[in-house]
Symmetry: C2
Subunit: 322 residues, 2 copies
């Protein structure tokens, strides 16, 4: 019987927590702790594809690009190159830490990272309504100057932060490049790292050339699409909460450990899940189930190892596990 194939999406704080300064030592330690929790999936015989966020890392890369231009007049790289840079750096780091975790546990498996472009539709409505905030916070004069010189679009910051940030579109991913290679390598027993940071966003033009999109793809939606396209059985999103909640942080807050597709969709449509945070995760999980995936899980990394924990979405309730 073919082994189960799982895609595991590592969230931002699986690699770097918000209260940390971002040194490589911190990143390597967090990554190791996160990957330790995946050992049980390997022991249970799963083939694995790992995806990951890149928020803090690509944020730093964008800031360094700004600083390098200001201090040393080094040409800034566009967003697609910055995302690709982050795939290389983070992918290598995850590969190395995973090799060492496997070595510690005496598990003989290989790890490989594929630089992954993901195709979006240039007519996606996101391109006329950029919403994803990236890079540093500028004052009004700086923002106006950059808008003029580089054509960047800015929005005023919210939540008591004074200033402006660049916004880029966050289009829907429609096709993962090299998905067959990713699947085949995973099916041969390699742990494959792919689609980092939501993938490098590209689009296909009228001549069928591949063009870069100045955009950022949501990493959970990208990971879910990858999971569907490679025929994964299960899809895991590791984040900073142990469960899916409804009425989150209200007096009537409720943990939802087992959800079926219809109920999760209902809660989503009710606006139960925070935009840009839990909402795209739920959407990603539902997309995967809708495309035939058997199980979506949202939980914290360190609770993953004990299968009692975490919230599970399936097409129907799994009554025997309730």
């Amino acid at each position: 019987m073919e082994k189960k194939l799982a895609v595991v999406a590592l969230g931002g704080n699986a690699l770097l927590r918000g209260d940390q300064s971002g040194t490589i030592d911190e990143q390597e330690q967090n990554t190791t702790e996160t990957l330790e929790n995946l050992v049980f999936l390997i022991r249970e015989g799963y083939d694995l594809v790992i995806t990951h966020g890149n928020g803090p890392q690509v944020g730093n890369i964008l800031m360094r690009n700004d600083a390098g231009e200001q201090m040393y007049s080094i040409a800034q790289m566009p967003v697609d190159i910055c995302v690709a840079d982050s795939q290389g750096g983070i992918g290598y780091m995850i590969e190395r830490m995973f090799r060492n975790v496997l070595n510690k546990h005496g598990i003989n498996k290989n790890v490989v990272c594929i630089v992954t472009s993901i195709i979006v539709n240039i007519n996606d409505p996101a391109f006329s309504d950029p919403q994803k905030r990236i890079g540093k916070i500028y004052n009004k004069n700086e923002a106006d100057d950059l808008a003029l010189r580089k054509g960047w679009i800015f929005r005023e910051e919210i939540k008591n932060v004074n200033g402006y940030r660049r916004v880029v579109p966050s289009p829907v991913p429609i096709d993962i490049m090299n998905q067959k290679i990713i699947r085949d390598l995973a099916r041969k027993g390699n742990i494959v790292i792919a689609a980092g940071g939501g993938g490098v966003p590209v689009y296909i033009d009228d001549k069928k050339d591949v063009r870069p999109a100045e955009a950022v793809i949501d990493k959970d939606l990208a990971s879910s699409l990858l999971a569907s396209q490679i025929g994964a059985d299960e899809f895991y999103i590791l984040t900073d909460v142990p469960y899916i909640y409804i009425n989150y942080k209200k007096p009537n807050q409720e943990i939802k450990e087992f959800l079926n597709y219809a109920d999760a969709l209902k809660y989503l449509n009710e606006g139960q899940f925070a935009k840009g945070s839990m909402q795209p995760k739920i959407e990603a999980c539902l997309n995967f189930i809708k495309q035939g995936g058997k199980l979506s899980v949202i939980t914290e990394a360190f609770k993953l190892a004990d299968k009692k924990y975490g919230s599970k979405i399936t097409m129907e309730y799994e009554d025997d596990r309730r």
Copy 2:
């Protein structure tokens, strides 16, 4: 009959010329022009693995790390992460430009980039005699401060440049990670981009953990090792001169279009080839031949397409072609 397998190493100026400022437009245009010259190899039926340098790009990444720390107190990344970042960014760019070159020529082939670590020996004598200059030029006070804070080693610049540069070891590559995957993907007809920037240098410690080496591996030596380890038939180094010369830039300068192993080794031992420039390229070519490779070629990218051009090294003279 199995197709011929070739490894083609793209030199620094195949992607970015010394007289250019380093914008992404320049890099994409140069890369496209370089890759156009590889189309004939594909038409002749070769399976291809592409390697590349990263000198200007990783130099800029290191400078941006310095600037980001100074302006925004962003933690600097170590050399291994910077090299991995450059593999992601450059690898993605080469993949995209190659897809478009293939599209233009109506060739149906896939392109994929593998983030590649390369194992070095931590007891390599290079680690006690770091020679490879990287990053920005500092004044004496800055260099002393960084040496104290970060443990970096500096050397005074030469050739009328006033200041100090960080030096890192340039150890010999001994084993390419994921070489079987690289070979298999190439043998299935994918154009594989690998071992960028000489590979991310790592070593194996006493516990068999993979550790990062603060070092830079020569990209031609890394490419040659990859070519040998994947059983390539031919190895091409694309650089900024059309031929191998002896008595280079002297009155008795001589083009060497056909060289056998013994003569090339003799010239190498005579010191005919410039250190850090043509010398490692010749060494890389000779290593490949010694390990059983059939043909090493050194030439300019745009002369590659006409097989009459360029210098060729084989074990024996190819008398019929002289």
